[in-house]
Amino acid sequence: MALKMVKGSIDRMFDKNLQDLVRGIRNHKEDEAKYISQCIDEIKQELKQDNIAVKANAVCKLTYLQMLGYDISWAAFNIIEVMSASKFTFKRIGYLAASQCFHEGTDVIMLTTNQIRKDLSSPNQYDTGVALTGLSCFVTPDLARDLANDIMTLMSHTKPYIRKKAVLIMYKVFLKYPESLRPAFPRLKEKLEDPDPGVQSAAVNVICELARRNPKNYLSLAPLFFKLMTSSTNNWVLIKIIKLFGALTPLEPRLGKKLIEPLTNLIHSTSAMSLLYECVNTVIPILKSPVLARNNTVFLYVEKLYFVFFPPTVKYLGLLAMSKILKTHPKSVQSHKDLILQCLDDKDESIRLRALDLLYGMVSKKNLMEIVKKLMIHVDKAEGTTYRDELLTKIIDICSQSNYQYITNFEWYISILVELTRLEGTRHGHLIAAQMLDVAIRVKAIRKFAVSQMAMLLDNAHLIASNTQRNGICEVLYAAAWICGEFSDHLEESNQTLEAMLRPKVTTLPGHIQAVYVQNMVKLYASILQQKEQAGEKEAAQEITQLMIDRLPQFVQSADLEVQERASCILQLIKYIQKLQIKEVPVAEEVIALFAGELNPVAPKAQKKVPVPEGLDLDAWINEPPSDSESEDEKPRTIFHDEEQRHSRHRQPEIDEEELARRREVRKQEQANNPFYIKSSPSPQKQYQDTPGVEHIPVVQIDLSVPLKVPGMPMSDQYVKLEEERRHKQKLEKDKKKKKQKKEKKGKHRRHNSLHTESDEDIAPAQHVDIITEEMPENALPSDEDDKDPNDPYKALDIDLDKPLADSEKLPVQRHRNAENLKSPDTEAPLVGKKSKKPKKKEKKHKEKEREKEKKKEREKKVTEEGKKVVCVLSATYDIQGNLQNDSQVTVSVIFENKSTSFLKSMELNVLDSLNAKMLRPEGSSVHDGIPVPFQLPPGISNEAQFVFTLQSIVMAQKLKGTLSFIVKNDNGSTHEKLDFKLHFSCASYLITTPCYSDAFAKLLESGDLHMSSIKVDGISISFQHLLAKICFYHHFSVVERVDSCASMYSRSIQGHHVCLLVKKGENSVSVDGKCNDSTLLSNLLDEMKETLSKC
């Protein structure tokens, strides 16, 4: 032994410490990786040694390497060993390492529970502190559940140092284990008035964090916080409280009124920017309510913000605060428009993005064009696609907000959209496309202009689609094609556009765009056909038909099913038309009838909002379903497919009238169902007219005044000018009118009028946006949407805290099952293998001043003390642990807690020995002597004592009766008291968690000298992972291997029995097959396990 120690110490002298490692790494700059891998090998050697100091040093070095990015998860077990060292120096290092590298996926984490519990109750406050700190970093739901009660107790620790840490960590515990919130909350609330400022600020911190997520549950605390706010001088605390009030005021407007004064005072008096910022942030939404809105105060805040928050380092905050003010007081911010526009030039992306957000809220009819023009310049200059994309979306957002409220000239807007298509590499082509479609559909007056622009886009498609692979912009062609087709009546150069759409290059576009092309070229073709027929140009009409027949096959060959299907369908149709044309039958009318009818935009949720009429059951069968419904479902589709393929293969030219009508139906159906057909309206309400007359067909009027421009040239500018002129004219007219009015009214309303001259409302838009209100069906139901994210981790903490606590909500209290060997010389050597524990009903021995009722309750809880005259309350929890060194001993650790106000002393524990189990007594004492507990308990203190028991056989569970006698000393003198109890030795407490490798496990199973038994438990709802954790935890097993919902587990008894388990999880049940050297032990173990599992 001594030799080994000598060897260990000498080794240590040559070991690298952390400093050496750091120095070494710095000296090996060229071959750092090699040096470190060498170091890791050394560390692995060091970890194998028994000396805890060497291990701690190794773990410390590993922590450093972890920071450099090396994986140290393999050493998790060693870290736990170091954590469980008794010396603070090592413990500290162990917990640090754990806090750095443990996370929920770390499997050994559940082994730490008992160690942490032990450290939490350590008499040394720094042990407790270091455990709390570590736990705060890696707490898992299981740890939170198991330790919640221990931490809650620590919240009333005598040392403020511990109290404050315990309070803070409760927040993490709540997040992981929301059930703990209600039981712990009253105590947390108490801590708001703790005499120690540190504890108080910690409590404020936790409650504010909780309240910010779910403010409504914390309204009742408002008066308390108000008191704290007016009395506290600690800025850190004040900020938290003010933030809390910010969350509460929307729920309780009266609170806002009360807050204004103290907050304004703070704003004027404080020198701390952070506090000022928080106050302004909170005060601004309060000022929204009309009673409190005094604009001058808001202006004052804005001015203050302007000066305080616009140095470059904090500019971001200024913008952020402004955007808050903007929501309630847009006018006060608008005066800083130039400043905000300047921010767009900032190098810092966050600042630019914030500025963009602000601009969104600042636009008005008057300044929209100017702002967008500025933004367009930035789009050109912008580096980096992300920012450019952001600009693009913002431009579109700004323009389209509240149904294009601020757009006065849609020609301008369309040209902006067209200019945006010149952006290379943007991802937002579909956004632009959606806008084009939306505007063209909603703003009827603009269609003509839109169509001309779209035709131009189609003509220049090669510019846009030059790089289809990474170019999202080709999406706009989708919109362009659709607009040109749908509103083909407005098209001037239809022929040219049609040819553009039939170019071979089109086939390189994405499938869904080609499909729209194909569909819309028919619409275009139909309108051209009609024109030509009306003009009597039969040859021209035939030419155009021939063109279609020549070019369509390239789409028929498309690999995209949709394109192919549409193209082949249309090709057949046109071939048929050609036949008719040859016979000189006028066809245009019928062809155009295919696309008759007007499209109305429909709000996305319109369909959902139509109320179901009374008496209509949507789930009822209209016809009884046929018996073989499945094959019925399949058939029509396959027929349809077959037909399609036959058509495209054989190109059958003969189509009779009936076929044509049928196909027309099909097409109508297709259009109605095709999601691509009208993008902005998922439930198109196109009215198909079965017998359209010529009078329904709009006559194309060619208006040459529409400016056509070569693409690639910015032209929105000219609209800005045009618009200005228009407005000027409008204004002049208005002025004239006003003069008249003035004359009439003799200046009665003069002031009022002049105020309004410049206002937004006076600028009438050049085109009107249609159908804003008509989109919803009649009797649409207002639906309240659930915006809340169901995955929000804080949602679970939305708990009513004012309700009284129910019994079922009490925190689980765990029975302690950890023990160390009786002060053996190597207590330093960690016993991690054994450190798992077993929560059970806490065996409480209470003595209380009695009322009959309570007595009963106590008895129900199997409290062994029969009510006598009661003076004090003593509670004891115990934990049984197998002894690794001795195969017939177990250690029982009992934690005694004095819950009374009296002093407890001369405690003595005695147990009635059974044949099988005996308490180990000091030599020379008889079996009837008790063992004195080696400490006394002052009020409110707890301490742990250990007792060793010897057992002959461990195959059965044991129950031992015992008595605890003690003297209670208080002011009135001292009394002798006795307490009876039972100790329950379950079979699992004889097991020692022992890791086992799968090959060794397999050999063990093959050996054949194991007995087998199995159980099955139904009604299991918890996850398999959780279930395994429970088995490991309560029954001291370790997982050998896990495949899907099947796992093998292993454990060993203190007498060397091997226990192997195969756990399988079915739908709602779990089966456990066990093998063990001893069949009695196995069946007892399985019985215990069954009991645990059936509680799941």
Binding site: K87, L168, L317
Partner: protein, 157 residues
């Protein structure tokens, strides 16, 4: 607060503290990404930036960047003050701290941080009480260490 990082101008991580446990891989990715973003910024730029769904508050002290990631609703300025307070604590503890102090005594830097912040929340706003706690813990450590001379361990004393 979600996490705190200390890294040098050369992009070497000096300290990392995660208040929301996440996997090693995810951490590494975030560290790399964030370091790139912050190091690319010019000295006169704003101390706050939006990054992923978080806000990053950073400040440079000599060759070290102190960098905190906070949530959207948190107060940026108090975070900046918090960084400063931490630097002050380091300064007090080491006596005019430099990067090397933090490299060679990285565990101490962690201990100080742990006394100052816990679970991402400020634990104690008083510098004095933080330093006192650290000093006492160190004292305890020295008590542990002092009797362990080499001879004693060899069992000769």
């Amino acid at each position: 607060m979600r996490f705190m990082l200390l890294f040098s101008r050369q992009g070497k991580l000096r300290l990392q503290k995660w208040y929301l446990a996440s996997s090693e891989k995810e951490k590494k990715k975030m560290v790399r990404e964030l370091m790139q973003v912050v190091l690319a910024r010019k000295p006169k730029m704003c101390s706050f930036l939006e990054w992923r769904d978080l806000k990053v508050v950073y400040k440079r002290y000599a060759s070290l960047y102190f960098c905190c990631a906070i949530e959207g609703q948190d107060n940026e300025l108090i975070t900046l003050e918090l960084i400063h307070r931490y630097v002050e604590l380091l300064d007090k503890y080491f006596g005019s701290v430099c990067e090397l102090d933090i490299i060679f005594n990285f565990e101490k830097a962690y201990f100080i941080l742990d006394e100052f912040l816990m679970g991402g929340e400020i634990q104690d706003t008083s510098k004095k009480s933080v330093l006192k706690a650290i000093e006492q813990a160190d004292l305890l450590q020295e008590e542990d260490e002092s009797p362990r001379s080499v001879l004693e361990e060899m069992g000769l004393a």
